[in-house]
C-alpha cells in the first residue's frame, strides 16, 4: 500500500505537483539565505534587475485533481502555475515588500528558536512597518505568500499553530520518552491534538480499533465519547470542531498510514458545509495552499445522507441559506467531487433544506450510537 502510494506520488511529481514541506528551522533559514543571495546576485548583475517572486498560485484555476489510479485516494493539489510578486508593478510592490518583511521576521524568530502567533507577528510588523501591514489580514496573506515562495509549511516558518482537534477511542499515543496517553480513558473531553506538527510526527501510535470516525461537531463527539461508543464498535473518534486544521489532518493522516486497513468514516451535518468539511478531510482544499494535499485520506461518507432523512422529524429541517447555496455551487463545480456525492448535493439544493446530526436525538440520545453501528454493519457509506 505504502509503496503503491509512493509510486503514484512519484508519478504525479511529473505532473507538476507543488507542496510545502515540514522542514527543520535550519533548512528554512538556508532557503531564506538562498533567496537573499539570489536577490543580491540579480541586483548586482551586469544587467541589474529586481527579481520577481515566483509564488505558486493558490487559486482553484491552479488546482489539479489526482484521482488515485491504484488506490482509492484522491486529492487536490496545486500545480506549479505561478503568480508573481513584482516590485516593478506599483499594485504589487507592496505585496513584494511584505514578503521580504515577513521573511525577515520569520528568519529572526527561527534564529531565536521561538515561535510566534500570527497576532504577535502582526503587532511586530505593525510596529515596524505600519504602512505595509495595516491589518491582520495582510499578515496572514503574506504568510501564505511566503509559504508559496519557500515551499515550507507555516509551522516550519516559526508560526505557532493551534489545533482545535480532539481525539478519543482505541488509540494509544506515545511521545518518545514520555508516558503513553490512552485515548479511551480521556473521558468525554477527549485528548487534545497538539498544534506541534513535529511532535505529532514523532508520536508512536498504537491502536486496536477497527474504524476511524470523523465527527463534524464537538458536541456529537462528546456524546459518543461519553457513551464510550468506541468500545461498542472498536474505533477512533476524531473531530476538528468544524473545518479541519492542518494538525488534525496531519494526525489523521498519520493514523491512516499507520493503520491502512481502517476505514475512515465521516459523520457530518446534511448540508453543503458538512460535506465541505468532509471533503477537506478527504481531498484537502485549495485554500490550505501548498500544505493541502499531503494529508488527503480516503474518507467515506457515513451520514447524514439523503436516505436518512425520512427518519428525521420534519421540524428539524431548516431552509438552506445563501451561504449554503454558495458552498453547494462550488462543490458542484469541483472536479474532484464523486458523482454520488454530487447527487447528494443536488438533493440538498432541490429540497432546499438542511438538517443537523442532532436531529437524530429525536429518537433519544442513544439513537446516535445505534445509527452509526447500523450503518457500519451494513457498510452503508459512500
Amino acid at each position: 500500500m505504502e509503496d503503491l502510494r509512493n509510486s503514484s506520488l512519484k508519478f504525479f511529481t511529473d505532473q507538476e505537483l507543488c507542496y510545502a514541506d515540514i522542514v527543520p528551522p535550519s533548512q528554512v533559514r538556508a532557503r531564506i539565505e538562498v533567496s537573499v543571495l539570489s536577490f543580491l546576485k540579480i541586483l548586482n548583475a551586469s544587467n541589474p534587475a529586481i527579481s520577481d517572486l515566483p509564488l505558486i498560485q493558490r487559486k482553484s484555476s491552479n488546482s489539479r485533481v489526482n484521482h488515485g489510479l491504484l488506490t482509492e485516494l484522491s486529492y487536490v493539489f496545486l500545480s506549479n502555475s505561478v503568480s508573481t510578486r513584482s516590485l516593478m508593478r506599483p499594485n504589487a510592490a507592496k505585496a513584494f515588500v511584505r514578503v521580504w518583511k515577513v521573511m525577515e521576521m520569520c528568519y529572526q524568530i527561527l534564529l531565536q528558536e521561538k515561535r510566534v502567533t500570527q497576532r504577535e507577528l502582526f503587532y511586530k510588523l505593525l510596529c515596524h512597518s505600519q504602512h505595509l501591514f495595516p491589518s491582520q489580514k495582510d499578515v496572514n496573506r503574506t504568510i501564505q505568500d511566503l509559504v508559496a515562495l519557500l515551499r515550507c509549511s507555516r509551522y516550519s516558518l516559526g508560526i505557532m499553530a493551534s489545533s482545535r482537534g480532539i481525539i478519543a477511542g482505541r488509540l494509544i499515543l506515545q511521545e518518545p520518552g514520555k508516558e503513553a496517553v490512552d485515548c479511551s480513558v480521556c473521558g468525554s473531553s477527549g485528548h487534545a491534538i497538539s498544534g506541534d506538527l513535529n511532535l505529532l510526527d514523532k508520536l508512536i501510535l498504537n491502536a486496536d480499533a477497527r474504524y476511524i470516525i470523523i465527527v463534524e461537531k464537538h458536541a456529537i463527539f462528546q456524546r459518543l465519547a461519553e457513551d464510550r461508543f468506541f468500545n461498542q464498535i472498536p474505533s477512533i473518534l476524531i473531530t476538528a470542531k468544524g473545518y479541519p486544521d492542518i494538525a488534525t489532518r496531519f494526525l489523521l493522516h498519520r493514523i491512516s498510514r499507520a493503520f491502512p486497513d481502517l476505514p475512515i468514516l465521516a459523520l457530518v451535518d446534511w448540508n453543503p458545509a458538512g460535506l465541505a468539511i468532509l471533503c477537506t478531510f478527504k481531498f484537502g482544499s485549495v485554500g490550505m495552499g501548498l500544505e493541502s494535499y499531503r494529508y488527503a485520506c480516503n474518507v467515506k461518507w457515513l451520514g447524514l445522507r439523503g436516505h436518512d432523512l425520512p427518519m428525521l422529524p420534519d421540524q428539524s429541517f431548516v431552509p438552506l441559506k445563501t451561504k449554503d447555496l454558495q458552498i453547494a455551487q462550488s462543490l458542484m463545480s469541483s472536479r474532484i467531487l464523486p458523482e454520488n456525492y454530487k447527487e447528494e448535493v443536488t438533493l440538498m439544493v432541490e429540497s432546499g433544506r438542511r438538517a443537523e446530526i442532532e436531529a437524530l436525538y429525536f429518537h433519544g440520545y442513544d439513537y446516535l450510537g445505534k445509527y452509526i453501528a447500523k450503518k457500519i454493519v451494513q457498510s452503508d457509506y459512500i
Binding site: 537573499v36 543571495l37 539570489s38 541589474p48 513584494f96 521580504w100 528568519y107 500570527q118 473545518y243
Partner: protein, 475 residues
C-alpha cells in the same frame, strides 16, 4: 499679411529686419529709433535700419493694413532704403500700404554707394501711436528674440523726444555673451543657453540677471531636443528646451509675471509668435506623469500658452521654449491643415524628447509617479534584506553577501549596508523608469525553475480561493 495696427506692423518690420541680419553671415546691427517731435505731424517717426542682407520688394508686397482704431490715422506710407552687398546703389522706395495694385509702390531716385561694399535696409514711417506703449512692446519683443541667442546680431533700441531735453533712451540687446560658445554652435545649443539666460533673469519680467535668486547656471536642469520633419521639399525643424529652476521663495524679492505657471515661449522662424491650437493640443497630450509632472491644464492668455502644474514644489519653476522653423528661406509654407497635423506631432515629439533628455541628465529626478511609488519601498526592502543578512549567524553567507554588495569590511554598520542595497534598488528602479519599454520585459525570477508556467498580472485576486473556503486562519 494684414495688420490691425501700426504697432503690429512695426513689430513685424523689426522681425523682418532681424531675419535679414540673421541670414547675413556677418556681424550685423539692427537699430530701431523712435523720434518724437511735436513740431512735425504725425508726431512719431519710426526708423528700423539693419545691416543685414538687404530686402527685396516681395517682403512688402503682401503687407496689408486694416486699422480699426480711429486714432491710428497713419497715412500708410513706408519709405524704404535698401541695398544688397552686390548692388552698386541704394534703392529708395515709397510704399502706400493703404493703396493696392501697381500704384502702391513708387520708386524714388537711387543713391550711389560710391563703390562701397555694404548691404542693409532702412524702413521709416511716421505715425500717431503712443511712443511709450510702442517702446514697451518692442522692448518685450527684442528680449524674447534674445532667447534665440543669435550671436551675429546686435540690436539697438533708441527713443528720443526732441521737445524734452535729455529724454534719450537707449538700450543694446546683445546675444548671450557670458558663455563662450564655439562659433559652430547649433541653433539648439544657442537656444538652450538663451533660455537659460532668460531663466536666470527670471525670464519674464527682468532684463537683468538677479544674482540673489540663482547662484549659477549649473543649478538649472536643462533638457533639449531637436526634431526634424522632411515634408514638401522643405525640412521643418522643431527645437525644444526645458529648464527647471529652483528659486527659494522665502528670500526672493523677484516675482514672476505668471507666478508658478509656465509660459511656453514659442518661436516660428526666429520670431516670437502665438502658439497654434494644434501645438497646444500636443502639449496637452503629453504624458507628463511619466516624468513625475502633473499638468493641471493649459490656459491661453493673449496668445500665450500657460501651463498650470499640480503638486509642483513651490520653489520650482519650469520654463519651456519651442522654436519651429523651416530650413529653407524664404519658406514654402505647407497648407494650414497639413501644417497643423505636422506641428502637433512634431511639438509632441520634441517636448517628449527634451523631457527624456532632462531625465537622462538628472538621474533620480523626473521619475514617473509609478517609479516614485515603487522607489518609496526601497528603504523598507533594503532594511529587510540588510536585516536578513546582518542577523544571520552564518558567516559564510554574510561574507558572500558583503562581497556581492562590494562592501569591504564586515564591520560596516547596518546603515551602510542598508544604503548600499537601497541605492542599488533605487538605481534599478530609476533605470527601469528611463526606458519604459524595458520594464515591460519579464524580470528574472528569484528562483529560476523552468517548469513554471508564468501567469503574470494575476496577483491580488485571491478571491476565488477555493471551492470550500473554510475560515483559513486556523492558526
Amino acid at each position: 499679411m494684414e495688420f490691425s495696427s501700426s504697432q503690429k506692423l512695426c513689430l513685424h518690420l523689426i522681425s523682418s529686419a532681424y531675419q535679414r541680419c540673421r541670414l547675413s553671415e556677418q556681424i550685423c546691427r539692427l537699430s530701431v529709433i523712435l523720434t518724437r517731435s511735436s513740431s512735425s505731424s504725425p508726431s512719431l517717426r519710426i526708423s528700423i535700419s539693419d545691416t543685414g542682407i538687404g530686402s527685396s520688394l516681395e517682403e512688402f508686397q503682401n503687407l496689408r493694413v486694416s486699422f480699426t482704431n480711429a486714432a491710428d490715422n497713419w497715412d500708410g506710407m513706408l519709405s524704404i532704403k535698401t541695398t544688397s552687398i552686390n548692388d552698386s546703389e541704394i534703392h529708395n522706395y515709397q510704399i502706400n500700404l493703404k493703396e493696392s495694385g501697381s500704384s502702391r509702390i513708387t520708386s524714388l531716385t537711387s543713391d550711389s554707394k560710391n563703390g562701397a561694399k555694404f548691404s542693409g535696409s532702412e524702413v521709416c514711417l511716421s505715425s500717431f501711436v503712443n511712443s511709450d506703449l510702442l517702446l514697451a512692446e518692442i522692448h518685450s519683443l527684442l528680449e524674447k528674440v534674445l532667447i534665440l541667442n543669435i550671436p551675429n546680431v546686435a540690436i539697438q533700441l533708441v527713443s528720443e523726444d526732441f521737445d524734452v531735453p535729455e529724454s534719450r533712451y537707449e538700450k543694446v540687446f546683445l546675444a548671450n555673451t557670458c558663455k563662450q560658445l564655439p562659433i559652430s554652435a547649433s541653433s539648439l545649443e544657442l537656444l538652450k543657453f538663451g533660455l537659460g539666460d532668460y531663466v536666470l533673469k527670471h525670464g519674464n519680467n527682468l532684463s537683468i540677471k538677479c544674482n540673489s535668486c540663482f547662484t549659477s547656471w549649473e543649478d538649472l536642469k536643462v533638457g533639449v531636443a531637436c526634431c526634424t520633419e522632411n515634408r514638401l521639399h522643405t525640412e521643418l525643424v522643431m527645437e525644444a528646451v526645458i529648464v527647471i529652476s529652483n528659486m527659494s521663495i522665502q528670500n526672493t524679492t523677484c516675482f514672476r509675471e505668471y507666478g508658478d505657471k509656465t509660459e511656453v515661449l514659442y518661436f516660428k522662424d526666429f520670431s516670437p509668435c502665438a502658439m497654434s491650437q494644434s501645438s497646444m493640443k500636443a502639449l496637452k497630450s503629453i504624458d507628463w506623469k511619466r516624468y513625475g509632472l502633473h499638468l493641471g491644464g493649459i490656459v491661453e492668455l493673449d496668445g500665450t500658452a500657460l501651463l498650470e502644474w499640480e503638486n509642483l514644489p513651490t520653489d520650482t519653476h519650469i520654463d519651456i521654449v519651442l522654436h519651429s522653423y523651416l530650413k529653407q528661406y524664404p519658406m514654402v509654407i505647407p497648407t494650414p491643415r497639413k501644417m497643423s497635423q505636422l506641428e502637433r506631432s512634431i511639438v509632441k515629439r520634441a517636448v517628449k524628447l527634451s523631457l527624456d533628455d532632462l531625465k537622462a541628465n538628472h538621474s533620480g529626478d523626473f521619475l514617473s509617479s509609478r517609479a516614485l511609488q515603487i522607489r518609496n519601498y526601497a528603504p523598507d526592502l533594503a532594511q529587510s534584506i540588510a536585516g536578513l543578512i546582518l542577523s544571520s549567524s552564518d558567516l559564510d553567507f554574510q561574507r558572500e553577501c558583503f562581497s556581492l554588495l562590494g562592501l569591504q569590511s564586515q564591520d560596516v554598520g547596518t546603515e551602510i549596508m542598508e544604503n548600499s542595497i537601497k541605492e542599488k534598488i533605487v538605481s534599478v528602479i530609476e533605470t527601469n523608469d528611463k526606458d519604459p519599454d524595458k520594464s515591460k520585459e519579464i524580470a528574472p525570477f528569484l528562483f529560476e525553475e523552468d517548469d513554471h508556467i508564468h501567469e503574470p498580472d494575476v496577483e491580488f485576486q485571491e478571491s476565488d480561493f477555493t471551492y470550500l473556503d473554510p475560515d483559513l486562519d486556523m492558526f
